[in-house]
């Protein structure tokens, strides 16, 4: 048949397709073209003086939660509290006393970065996040 092929139920089909495109476009519309780089990580004076973290920066970026998990296991289960880093430095395996000693600006350092990636560690239910006040 040589009849031109019409679209049946055009209104309904197009509504559906527009809905489909709008849902897909949500991330594009939501951010409205604003670039959103990760927040700057502000280092404290103490951290700056130390120059480097307990492990190389790239490793810390992706593995710091793993390190903390290993520390926790080591301290709580085996009672071993000394961590020897790959550059042969010794650290006390402690969330509040080691990490937050250098990174005492938790809100500006850990939290900002976590908010960006939407991670919300529950560690602070128990661990104190301002060790200085404690001392």
């Amino acid at each position: 048949m040589s009849e031109e092929k019409k679209i049946y139920d055009k209104g309904k089909v197009l509504t559906g397709l527009i809905l489909f495109v709008v849902i897909l476009a949500f991330p594009f519309l939501y951010n409205s073209g604003k670039a959103a780089p990760a927040p700057d990580r502000i280092l404290t004076e103490k951290a700056k003086a130390a120059k480097e973290c307990i492990e190389p920066k790239a490793f810390m970026k992706s593995e710091h939660m793993q390190i903390l998990n290993d520390w926790r296991g080591s301290v709580v289960r085996d009672g071993k509290r000394i961590y020897v880093s790959s550059s042969d430095k010794e650290f006390d395996m402690s969330l509040s006393n080691t990490c937050l000693d250098c990174h005492s600006n938790k809100a500006d350092f850990c939290d900002k970065c976590h908010n960006y990636a939407s991670v919300n560690p529950y560690c602070w239910d128990c661990h104190i996040d301002k060790p200085k006040e404690n001392k």
Binding site: K5, K6, I7, V21, P27, S62, M65, N69, Y116, S118
Partner: protein
């Protein structure tokens, strides 16, 4: 060994190697992290719309009542409002329940022949359960992934993360949906291998999406819990894509590129595959039309008015010849 699934499995392994070698050895981060995802998204959207418009061009002249209940007829005969709706509202309700709870899969039965010979139909709920687990966890994972594509992250995404990470097992904590997704695709795969009848009708294009989605879920879980990647960098890349300021943060980790390459392939493959049932469910005449053939006259749109040639017209046309041939005619 079965050619059909080996073919699909090998295809997915080749895709993995492409991304792995492409990023690790050839340094093609821009290709795998920016170009391919954009192209895949375009193919997905345009291909999807094209398929749906194609379906919308096919006329559906009649109601196709593949229904599971009494159609609305006389007022004193009870009709089945959900299984054989005769109003638009009823159709919407049926469609909604179909999409959200897969009611038609719930009806799945298994026929067994026992001595007698006697045939019996047993309820078979595993497919329904597996399909529900699969689709719901897939949706949950996708919604949770919005944390990479939105800044600030909307509260409902964080709420879903809280619920999904309820068990707080490990650091970072496991997400139930990720594991259910992996388990469900694996079940759907096993089903196609183990049940002989299902195996017989399974083609490589049934296995390919299963392997691909398995690969996506597997690589995702791998980078969350085992082969760590720089998640902050991953978000920067994703945000770059959706804000049209694409960037490649250095050192994300190759598994991430494998993950998004798999996703890109899935998107680009989608419009050409059976996965189009996502759009197709809405376009199914057996589901989206009210069963109202007793109440409404449906006219075939492509050959109306119907061309008839009645006997009177026929005799009118051939009367002379009929008389010549000695055939009886009604009017002289």
């Amino acid at each position: 060994m079965n050619v059909k699934y080996m073919f699909s499995l090998i295809a997915v392994i080749v895709l993995f190697l492409l991304a792995y070698v492409g990023v690790e050895a050839a340094g093609l981060q821009i290709l795998f992290g920016i170009v391919i995802p954009y192209v895949a998204l375009l193919v997905f959207v345009i291909g999807f719309i094209n398929r749906v418009i194609g379906w919308a061009r096919s006329p559906v002249p009649f109601r196709i009542p593949s229904t599971c209940g009494q159609q609305k007829s006389l007022p004193w005969i009870k009709s089945e409002e959900l299984d054989n709706p005769h109003t638009t509202m009823g159709v919407i309700a049926r469609m909604f329940l179909e999409i959200v709870f897969f009611r038609s899969l719930f009806r799945n039965t298994k026929a067994t022949l026992s001595d007698g010979p006697k045939i019996s139909f047993n309820l078979e709920k595993w497919l329904w359960l597996g399909a529900l687990a699969f689709h719901w966890s897939f949706l949950t994972v996708i919604v949770r992934h919005l944390r990479f594509f939105a800044e600030p992250v909307p509260f409902w995404v964080q709420l879903l993360e809280k619920v999904d990470g309820f068990f707080q097992i490990g650091v970072p904590g496991i997400f139930i949906s990720g594991i259910v997704l992996l388990a469900a695709v694996f079940y759907l795969f096993l089903r196609r291998v183990i049940i002989p009848q299902v195996n017989y009708i399974s083609l490589s294009q049934d296995f390919f999406p299963l392997f691909l989605i398995f690969g996506i879920a597997f690589s995702g879980i791998l980078m969350r819990h085992f082969a760590k990647v720089d998640v902050t960098g991953a978000k920067e890349l994703a945000m770059g894509l959706v804000s049209f300021h694409p960037i490649i943060p250095p050192g994300i980790g190759v598994i991430f590129y494998v993950h998004i390459f798999f996703v890109s392939v899935l998107l680009a493959y989608f419009p050409f595959s059976k996965l189009m049932h996502l759009g197709g469910i809405f376009m199914s005449p057996t589901r989206n039309l009210p069963g109202n053939t007793r109440a409404v006259r449906h006219i075939n749109p492509w050959n109306y008015p119907v061309h008839t040639h009645t006997y009177e017209e026929y005799e009118e046309e051939f009367r002379g010849k009929m008389i010549e041939a000695g055939l009886p005619v009604e009017k002289e």
